[in-house]
């Protein structure tokens, strides 16, 4: 008995976590998937009815807005954060003496809660008292910056705050990547008289392809899960103008009492995440074993 115990200690210790993941991750996903196929409203029902919830979802104008917003927000957030992060990383890579301090400044927003970020930017972009009032105070009476209350522009206000928060992190990723490029190759290129910008564009940046991929995955993942920032900055408004899938799901689950819609929208979100993440993780795991 003691010998058996001794031999199986590792298994026994891992078992609770394994069970927890099985139940609380995979079991729960299965539950949500099941309920998304029923007519559940305020309470869950368990008779499978097919894809009616998904039909309702895709016919709902509010969901349509949410998916459009996700596309606009996600695309801009990812592209701008990557460009800004890459630019900052390259600039910081020029043997700057204050690099440590600058890196700390660029990256601190990542330590903040999205609710704090949203609260701060909501105040900064407040039309009556924020940037708009400030610039008007400088004598530009016609200046307008009222994105947070403009249904057509509010989503871009969220992009600004999100980029502010995440771009420093992308910078850190890229900077680590720049530093891992083989010094010898760069020195050889320099000796050959190749100008700095083409060393970057032809040698360094192409060799960082895996880092671009990870940055993309992380940012896409952040974009799809974005919830707090929208809640704090615009509350999903004006109207539903800045709804994202995450806020739609939350509204259906906890204020509208529409469990069927909540479950089906959550499943769509998961599908989107997995479509992006699974191929990446799969290749990572394979590469490690190979």
């Amino acid at each position: 008995m003691a010998a058996w115990l001794e031999r199986n200690v590792p298994r026994i210790l891992l078992a609770p976590s394994f069970l927890a993941v099985l139940v609380f991750v995979y079991g729960f996903i299965a539950w949500t998937a099941w309920v998304s196929m029923t007519r559940s409203r305020l309470l869950p029902k368990y008779e499978i009815e097919g894809f009616i919830q998904y039909e309702r979802l895709f016919a709902a104008p509010r969901w349509d807005t949410a998916m459009n917003n996700l596309f606009i927000f996600g695309a801009l957030f990812i592209v701008v954060s990557m460009l800004l992060g890459l630019l900052l990383a390259i600039l910081l890579d020029q043997k700057i003496r204050t690099e440590g301090a600058l890196r700390t400044i660029y990256l601190y927003p990542m330590a903040l809660s999205m609710i704090v970020t949203g609260t701060a930017w909501k105040w900064i972009m407040n039309p009556g008292l924020g940037i708009e009032a400030m610039v008007r105070g400088w004598g530009f009476d016609e200046f307008a910056f009222d994105w947070v209350i403009d249904p057509d522009m509010a989503i871009y206000a969220i992009v600004v705050a999100a980029v502010w928060q995440a771009s420093g992190f992308v910078m850190a990723l890229f900077l680590a990547g720049l530093r891992s490029v083989d010094e010898e190759i760069i020195r050889a290129a320099r000796v050959d008289g190749i100008p700095t910008w083409s060393i970057y564009s032809a040698i360094i940046i192409p060799s960082m392809a895996p880092i671009f991929l990870s940055a993309f995955i992380v940012l896409a993942h952040l974009a799809i899960k974005s919830f707090d920032l929208v809640i704090a900055l615009t509350g999903g408004g004006p109207g539903y103008a800045t709804d994202l899938p995450a806020t739609y799901m939350y509204a259906m689950a906890f204020s509208r009492g529409d469990i069927g819609q909540a479950a089906s929208s959550a499943m769509v979100m998961m599908t989107v995440v997995f479509a992006i993440v699974v191929p990446y993780l799969y290749s990572e795991l394979r590469a490690k074993r190979g």
Partner: protein
């Protein structure tokens, strides 16, 4: 170094110096961009409402007052409750500390097993846990709400601790596993020959080596859990909300005058613990971020 672009008419040294200055100017401008919101938050929190209405967003306070801080901490209203951020701040402490401790400990043991005591299926379990890190939590919100109800901990702090531990295990295991695989297996083999068992090896060999990864994991978990909003807003009720939820309620409270100075003071209070950790242990925070993203 920045190379001087071919400019035969200009002294190349002068060109280089000018480029250097341009570089610093751009970097400083970006530093301003990142610091501006923090600066605005602090200055706004130190102004009176009258000064906020009459002055500019970026002006320094003429008359520094800590009134907004007092209100934010102990009497700001969210809806009908007017008790400030204080009780919720302590809620966050009460849920973050145990959740971080438990999830880190579990992660350490899991990582040790997966990295050093491989058995058939251990890799599969690890992969399953890894995929679990990536799910959008919306997909578990509904069943978790019901489960917490069945367990009798719905709307309580122990319930929130439970949720954070469960969904934190994936990341903590990942951190420790990736750290422990770099320790040669021969070490465990030699210790076994000397008669040391599973726990003995863990305590006397692995734990003393684990300080850096402990720091990374604790800081990562602390930041995640302290800053969490989704679980907090979904699984708490009046009185048990964490600080992020309370902050959002105070800021978006529809009753009374909008007190921007109080909102900013409240935001800084809510942000203070994680900012402090970042300031003193930023190195570990960054390491966690990059490890957590590149590897998983």
């Amino acid at each position: 170094m920045v190379d001087a672009t071919p400019a035969p008419l200009v002294n190349p040294r002068a060109g280089q110096v000018a480029l250097r200055w341009l570089l610093f100017a751009i970097l400083a401008l970006f530093a301003l961009f990142y610091l501006m919101p923090l600066f605005v938050m602090i200055t706004t929190s130190l102004k009176s409402l009258d000064e906020i209405r009459s002055g500019s967003l970026v002006a320094l306070p003429v008359q520094v007052t800590f009134e907004a801080w007092r209100t934010a901490w102990s009497s700001a209203c969210s809806g009908i409750q007017c008790e400030g951020l204080r009780p919720y701040f302590w809620n966050s402490v009460a849920l973050t500390v145990p959740a971080v401790a438990v999830s880190t400990l579990i992660g350490a043991v899991n990582g040790y097993v997966i990295a050093q005591w491989k058995f058939r299926g251990a890799n599969l379990i690890f992969s399953l846990m890894l995929f679990g890190c990536f799910i959008p939590f919306q997909v578990v919100l509904l069943p978790m709400a019901r489960t917490l109800g069945f367990m009798g901990v719905a709307g309580t702090i122990p319930g929130l601790i439970f949720v954070h531990v469960i969904y934190g295990i994936g990341f903590t295991t990942l951190f420790f596993r990736n750290y422990y695989v770099t320790i040669p297996v021969e070490l465990v083999k030699a210790a076994k020959v000397d008669g040391a068992g599973f726990f003995r090896i863990f305590w006397s060999i692995f734990m003393p080596l684990s300080l850096p990864i402990m720091m990374v994991t604790v800081i990562w978990q602390f930041t995640q859990i302290w800053n969490d909003f989704l679980f907090g807003v979904s699984f708490s009720q009046a009185g048990t909300q964490p600080v992020t939820v309370a902050l959002n309620n105070i800021v978006n409270s529809t009753t009374g005058v909008k007190e921007y100075n109080v909102n900013m003071a409240a935001a800084i209070i809510a942000a203070f613990p994680t900012l402090f950790v970042y300031a003193v242990a930023g190195k570990y925070f960054i390491r966690g971020l990059t490890a957590g993203s590149v590897k998983g």
